[in-house]
Symmetry: C2
Subunit: 262 residues, 2 copies
Amino acid sequence: MSVSRLFVEADLSAGIEAPLDETQAHYLRHVMRREEGAKLSLFNGRDGEWSATLSLRGKKAAVATVGARTREQGTEPDLWLCFAPVKRTRIDFIAEKATELGVSALQPVLTQHTAVERVNVERLRANAIEAAEQTERLTVPEVREPIGLGSLLDRWPAERRLLMCDETGGGPPIAEALAQLDDAARAAPWAIVIGPEGGFAAAELAALRRMSNVTAVGLGPRILRADTAALAALACWQALLGDWRRPTPRLVNDYRTSRLTT
Amino acid sequence: MSVSRLFVEADLSAGIEAPLDETQAHYLRHVMRREEGAKLSLFNGRDGEWSATLSLRGKKAAVATVGARTREQGTEPDLWLCFAPVKRTRIDFIAEKATELGVSALQPVLTQHTAVERVNVERLRANAIEAAEQTERLTVPEVREPIGLGSLLDRWPAERRLLMCDETGGGPPIAEALAQLDDAARAAPWAIVIGPEGGFAAAELAALRRMSNVTAVGLGPRILRADTAALAALACWQALLGDWRRPTPRLVNDYRTSRLTT
């Protein structure tokens, strides 16, 4: 039986009882049908990963009794994904895939051509948590409130570089552009910026190109959906600048025999 | 009003009437509410892209009257994606994204741990056609019948290289492994091979590693869903070995102002 892996808010240390929320207790007790003492794995984004066991409380509630630490909290790339909201299935997909691909923050950005103005931030956050639980991340990306592109650029942190997917054409190939960066640029915090369906407006493109730390890149000759462009840029960034440059470690958890999950 | 772009089976040349099938005629007449003479764009995977106009026939049917050629048929990377079938939403997603990312063939592969045995090849093909239509490809990837991994490897073409996503860990980073290939390997036809949820069985991994043209790579420290791994490997391959290495051309069609679509 697979071990359920859960994100919790509580501080984690050996011997404590970590509260589980209603949704988690329901999921474990009534969806997964876990019994008293079932093995769990917990993380909170700060204290590494811990083994734990399920303790039932009454008919509906539960807590996790924390055992030993199984993984240390490591460092992760400081990489934002700034994306224009798209319709429901595709935005769910962006939150899930970007979490798997290791972003540290998801920032919805409203642009002139953004068709979808309302963003369910709680739903995005739930998708990010689920993806982090299933894919053995030790953190959950921060999910931010939507912001207009102008405001985002006005308060842009000076040291953070922008990888701008230039969908108008003429951009240098992504691998070439990233290979030409100097060491300081490679080590900087980054953000990937993706426009909406239909692209950025001309004034928005000009404002992005005026940013001092921007690298505009092309993603090949084909038209891409906005969600595909986001993922493709993330994968290339991880492979060329991020933590995919390190050899992939052997799997450490005894309950996991593959890096591919459902 | 956007121009509808359609994949057709017919040979295309100026002045001919290209048949539209029932689904296409219904879509244009009753979903998009196109009138007689509406502008279309056609491709068949062989003759480039052509402007055309809609000609209604009776109450339900339609043909396309072909005008001038708008794009020449170019060459595309010879890249297969060999993937274990996954459940419905995710397999739709693989067909769509792999088409956008430029694969030439989609090959479902049955493995020891493949949970989904039945593959709706017609549905996969419909997804690939729709993605090709919307993303300005001039071809549709070939969608093959499912095959067992053993049979696939037994009849593997000698010259085709395998990029194997080694989800057990210990694989060299994908960017490093692809950078070390010689010119002959870089120019060869390729296939990306992705295991099922839960990964390949030990004997399958051994059989893959015995292939003469195999390059095993790692995709970073996180656990990935099988569909995420497929996409990420495709994007990295295109960026490092494929046609994303060329500068992205400016957009050629007057009806398209962005490389991002819905």
